[in-house]
């Protein structure tokens, strides 16, 4: 995670290795500065991890960098208490659903924007983007009321659909950029060869933009994963997201710091896993100037 996020590594990643090696020799402090920077970034994460493996008394007691007593009770609680692990699963379920549904909707839309000229296409494209400009809170009440009346309240599908509000425009925008980089002549050649549009799309076109699909899926997953306001408002029990559960840990016994820290550590993991798979594609996406 630190390596992936470290700006120096990312900045020199595209240079030939020889140049990078020379640069490193010329700057003896570069390595030190990098590790200092990385450590600063990592400190809250490490601190949280440290908290998650201590009992609550130690957290609230004296200040110490190294945990005095190491315990995995917090994690055990997380995975045995159904409120915790089921909301964790809820988040994963609706986030995955959202990524898939956003892609299914955005792929044909992006193709249309990239390949066809129609009345108002540019305005429509811009309007899609403006959906991202409104704060999600604006949509809370309408969502709440509509979902109550159509039975989408407190369902995974409901959250996934609500998150498409801001993920589909983003997905269309990213995918359109990649698709426009593919020569139109390939579409024409396929038509001449006799491919029908759906068959061409699946057999020829999708494999060509698979890196774009990876990048888009990552962003959809990420934005859906970190969104709290809408997800909390339109769920109660069955589809409650992990982040909402984390805001409700105050009990009669006070705040369960250790458990909260353990939940925090676990909440980072899915994002880290996804970014690991698409890390090379993200760089390509940046190079194409759309992400």
């Amino acid at each position: 995670m630190a390596r992936a996020a470290g700006p120096p590594a990312a900045a020199t990643g595209r240079r030939p290795p020889a140049v990078a090696a020379t640069a490193r020799r010329q700057l003896p402090w570069a390595r030190t500065v990098f590790w200092l920077y990385a450590a600063t970034l990592m400190l809250p994460l490490l601190w949280m991890f440290g908290m998650s493996i201590r009992p609550n008394e130690d957290i609230l007691g004296g200040f110490s960098l190294i945990p005095q007593r190491v315990t995995f009770d917090n994690y055990q609680t997380f995975f045995t208490d159904s409120v915790w692990y089921s909301s964790y699963l809820n988040s994963i379920v609706y986030t995955s659903m959202n990524a898939v549904m956003s892609l299914v909707v955005a792929l044909p839309a992006a193709y249309a924007f990239s390949r066809f000229r129609f009345a108002g296409d540019k305005h429509l494209f811009f309007w899609l983007l403006t959906n991202r400009m409104a704060p999600p809170a604006v949509f809370l009440l309408p969502f709440f009321q509509i979902y109550q009346s159509v039975g989408l309240f407190d369902t995974h599908l409901g959250v996934a659909v609500a998150h498409m509000l801001f993920n589909v425009p983003l997905a269309v925008w990213i995918l359109e950029g990649f698709m426009s980089g593919i020569p139109r002549e390939i579409d024409e050649t396929a038509a001449i060869d006799g491919y029908s549009l759906p068959r061409f799309f699946i057999r020829i076109f999708l494999p060509m933009i698979r890196s774009a699909i990876g990048v888009t899926a990552f962003f959809c997953f990420m934005f859906s994963w970190v969104e709290l306001l809408i997800a909390r408002t339109i769920t109660s029990v069955n589809a409650k997201p992990i982040a909402a559960t984390m805001t409700r840990t105050v009990s009669a016994a006070g705040v369960d710091w250790g458990l909260l820290a353990a939940a925090g550590v676990l909440t980072i993991i899915p994002g880290a896993v996804v970014i690991w798979f698409v890390r090379n594609y993200i760089a390509k996406g940046f190079a194409l100037g759309r992400v």
Partner: protein, 363 residues
Amino acid sequence: MTLILDGVRVRQRGEPWLDGIDLEFPSGMTTLIGPLAAGKTTLMRVAAGLLPPTAGRVVVNGKDVTPVSVRKRSVAFVYQQFINYPSLTVYENIASPLRLARSFPKEDVDRRVREVAELMGIGDLLGRRPAELSGGQQQRTAIARALARPVDVLLLDEPLANLDYKLREQLRADLKGMFAGSPGVVLYSTADPAEALTFAAPTVVLGEGRVRHAGDAADMYDRPPTLAVAATLSDPPLNLLPGVVRDGRIECLGVSFPAPGVQGSGRRVVLGVRPHQVSIERTGPGGLEFPAEIRLAEVTGSTTFLHLLLPDRRHLVAQLPGTRLFTPGEPAVAHVDPAHVFVFDEAGGNLLATSAAEVGPHG
């Protein structure tokens, strides 16, 4: 098998890209030649069905196919850019039109792919993907895909233009024999006169969206009917000089020579001289002599292009054999044999005479 373009017009953004094309293409190869923006690509795209004409019809084998979708037509197209399916291997690229053609027997696909790949010299690259090939190999793959399925109309839009000249010459030689006995209509467009002359196929000269002339490329080269045709078929570019007809002679920059067929005293004409017909040594009796100043000598090895500045600030290029060294700024005399001068009407651009012999009753 025939392809007929009947009154085809294409207007895009208010501009005429094709302006009334009436052509009939027989089986076998036809070369389309024209400068940039002549309408070659547009004509090909209309013929393929990729671009619907604003007016006119496209008729294949007597059947009007203008409204037929390109997916349902029997055509193949090779682009100037190397267009292949990047995610498929060379083998699958070539096989894809065969697999999709219902009429093509499935058991013959493998045999046909290998046959065409062998023909195009890429038989040992079938397992690779297009990104792992050189530009020449990529274009060979694209041509192989177009050749694989027997089609009514095969269109090649400047297929060699993006290749470097060695690959171009090699592929040109390979292609020459390939289309000769083709049962379908083969249209080959190019901006390079050498290609049109090498293929020695019926040739159509296009310019500004119109047909300038159609006929045999070598004939048109020897006796270009118009200035536009002469310019299109001349590489290096034609030298143009101003002239005036006076008493059966043509006067040009202080020299004159007889032009028996040309009438109309005082008529303005344009003289066209190919660079290789300009010499700096005396060519023989009756040669035209233009005093000039040497500006630049481009040495390519086998030839030297000598850029001369005439007294009226006009440039004249002489293509001289071998490597010759000149000093810029020195005087020289350009010699031109009047027998190799084309005389065009300044107003219409029609050929009036190749000065040695009258061309037609235009005067």
